[in-house]
């Protein structure tokens, strides 16, 4: 594991700011950046203390988007909460769906068949590609490179078309169900995913050529916003942000879920932990995700896409509800009471594009969770801002924010 880390040099700022009280007090200023600012990637307000162009103090204010997702979850049945998981990290809804479904399956003791697991892996990796495409594209814009965004967003559009064929929706997919997925793969869909991968790989290279060795980009990102290994762990960083700081941690390798152990892929690890490293990790993960998707397509097993004993959690097909008494009663009970879960506590975390998303469920039995807590990676990523922003220049803030790749829907919940 590479261990080279760099601390931000704060010494100069301390020297510059000491004695300002009397002499140059007029030059210090407070600046409110946001809540709605192109560089804050959502409704995030930064209360900044500035000394000229340098940040001396930063206080992020979140909560503008707070919708009380946990409260909502505690007031509805397990099945009804699936669409709400889309709205957490709305750049990768499929990955959230999968994480929530697995968490509840753990509680219910359900085991899903291999085909369902394979479909979910494709979903997760396509969601990762889609999220990183936006992450990299907008990051390019934050550093002043407009073209990248056009390249990556075109690719995202293509992914949306694939999602639409699979789930019926382009943005809020709500694709998984507890114990399986909504429907089987459409005919010829895997072929189209394969075509997407084929045309996508040259685009990664193109973005790579445009950005990775670009002088302006390098100047703006190298050694900016360095986060040491120790800080990354202390502040609960996960996913690409943690790996960029040189920590080898990937749940897909360490604690494989949904059959990730069947696929070969590499986990990129950074060495410095600066903004540039975080970008490189995302670029490499795009390639690795394509690699995983290809393997899943090659190995796609046949069989049911739904767990055998999922009857107790999933509403029966509509045709049967209208013709068979048994299914009608089951449908009614599931809709009115919700799927009956055992008592107990589970905590499941999945490796999402932004880091690890976790669901903690305390069940007292019945169809409604007594307590559901969502562990959001973006929330943790943002909490480091008061620590790393001081000492940087005002113009570095968009770069640091972009490199953390957070999404406010998940941070505030």
């Amino acid at each position: 594991m590479p261990t080279e880390t760099k601390e931000i040099d704060l010494g100069d700022v301390a020297a510059r700011t000491s004695g300002y009280e009397t002499e140059l007090k007029g030059e210090e200023m407070t600046l409110n950046m946001g809540p709605s600012h192109p560089a804050t990637h959502g409704v995030l307000r930064l209360k900044l203390r500035l000394d000229g162009d340098y940040v001396t103090e930063a206080d992020p204010v979140i909560g503008y988007l707070h919708r009380g997702d946990e409260k909502i979850a505690e007031n509805m049945t397990y099945n009804q909460f699936v669409p709400y998981t889309d709205r957490l990290d709305y750049l990768a809804p499929l990955a959230n769906n999968v994480c929530y479904a697995i968490a509840v399956e753990k509680l219910a003791g359900l085991k899903v068949p291999p085909r369902c697991e394979a479909i979910r892996v494709i979903c997760c990796e396509l969601a990762r590609i889609s999220s990183h495409l936006l992450g990299v594209g907008v990051y390019g814009m934050d550093t002043g490179a407009m073209t990248i965004f056009l390249y990556t967003f075109t690719q995202r559009e293509k992914l949306y078309t694939l999602f639409e064929e699979l789930t019926g929706a382009r943005f809020t997919t709500s694709y998984t169900r507890i114990g399986g997925v909504t429907r089987d793969l459409p005919e010829g869909w895997l072929g189209r995913v394969s075509n997407f991968c084929n045309q996508f790989e040259p685009i990664i290279d193109e973005v790579d050529n445009l950005l990775t060795r670009n002088k302006i980009f390098l100047d703006r990102t190298k050694d900016i916003g360095v986060i040491s290994q120790e800080d990354a762990i202390g502040y609960g960083f996960t996913g690409p942000n943690l790996r960029a700081s040189g920590v080898d941690s990937d749940l897909r390798k360490d604690k494989p879920y949904s059959g990730y152990e069947n696929y070969d892929f590499d986990v990129p690890i950074g060495s410095v932990g600066d903004c540039y490293d975080r970008y490189l990790i995302r670029m490499e993960e795009l390639r690795q995700s394509v690699r995983i998707v290809r393997q899943v397509i090659d190995k796609m097993p046949d069989g049911p896409y739904y767990a055998e004993d999922a009857k107790k959690v999933h509403v029966p097909p509509k045709a049967k509800v209208l013709t068979s008494m048994e299914e009608l009663i089951q449908n009614f009970m599931l809709v009115t009471e919700g799927p009956q879960m055992p008592e107990g506590e589970v905590y499941f975390e999945a490796e999402n594009p932004k880091g690890i998303l976790g669901f903690f469920i305390h069940s007292k039995g019945g169809g409604v969770p007594y307590r559901l807590k969502i562990r959001a990676p973006s929330f943790c990523s943002l909490s480091i801002l008061p620590k790393i922003l001081p000492g940087l220049m005002m113009s570095d803030i968009p770069v640091v924010l972009g490199s953390l790749d957070f999404v406010m829907g998940e941070c505030d919940r």
Binding site: K71, N75, G236, S249, K255, T336, P342, G344, G358
Partner: protein, 208 residues
């Protein structure tokens, strides 16, 4: 594997109790031992990351009412452990802060404070984080209704423009019911609106 670890932990911490769990090893410790336990878990067992810290509210009539829940994560290898600690006071719940061990606890504890009203001792900056500073309630407490309470908004012009009133939340409460009258399409089972019950009066602002 998990059972061995739990046994090891119980041996290491004689004051701890085992806690029922469907997956990860879980122990319950007294609140005043929490910092010590986390320190040992960090130094000796390698659980160096606090991935999640939250609380459970058992309802107004239960004592102890609040339980703090912590999930520690072993970064290399990926294992979790769950720690629970009861707050002794039901009206003014307090837990020790873990900020000195885990910087991330700063925000997580602020969130728990905001949502449940649990104060954290030795926390450097105990402010609300998701709701605004003067907000009088703690929304994740069980008695807080899904539709919310009518509250004065912090800015008069915002209040005037939005005309904020309590309106029933669409999926309010449960249990669910199927209306017996009306168009057939309206008779699907749905959540009962419980923004008012026998205990709570019907808000004036709510129209039938």
């Amino acid at each position: 594997m998990d059972a061995i670890l739990t046994a090891k932990l119980l041996e290491r911490f004689p004051f701890a109790e085992e806690r029922a769990s469907l997956d990860h090893p879980a122990i319950k410790v007294p609140a005043d031992k929490l910092v010590e336990v986390c320190q040992v878990l960090m130094d000796e067992f390698g659980y160096s990351m606090l991935t999640d810290s939250t609380a459970i509210d058992w309802g107004e009539e239960v004592s102890p009412r609040f339980t703090g829940i912590y999930h520690l994560f072993k970064v290399s290898g990926g294992d979790w452990i769950r720690i629970a600690a009861d707050c002794s006071d039901d009206a003014e719940p307090v837990l020790p802060s873990l900020v000195e061990l885990f910087p991330i606890a700063n925000w997580q504890e602020r969130e728990t404070y905001d949502m449940f009203g649990i104060r954290y001792e030795n926390h450097p900056d105990m402010r609300r984080i998701l709701m605004w500073d003067d907000y009088p309630y703690h929304p994740l407490r069980k008695e807080f209704p899904l539709a919310g309470h009518e509250t004065e908004l912090p800015a008069a012009d915002v209040a005037k423009a939005s005309g904020a009133k309590v309106i029933p939340a669409p999926m309010m409460g449960g249990p669910f019911h199927a209306p017996q009258t009306g168009e057939m399409s309206d008779r699907e089972p749905r959540a009962a609106d419980q923004s008012w019950t026998e205990k709570n009066e019907k808000p004036e602002t709510v129209k039938d």
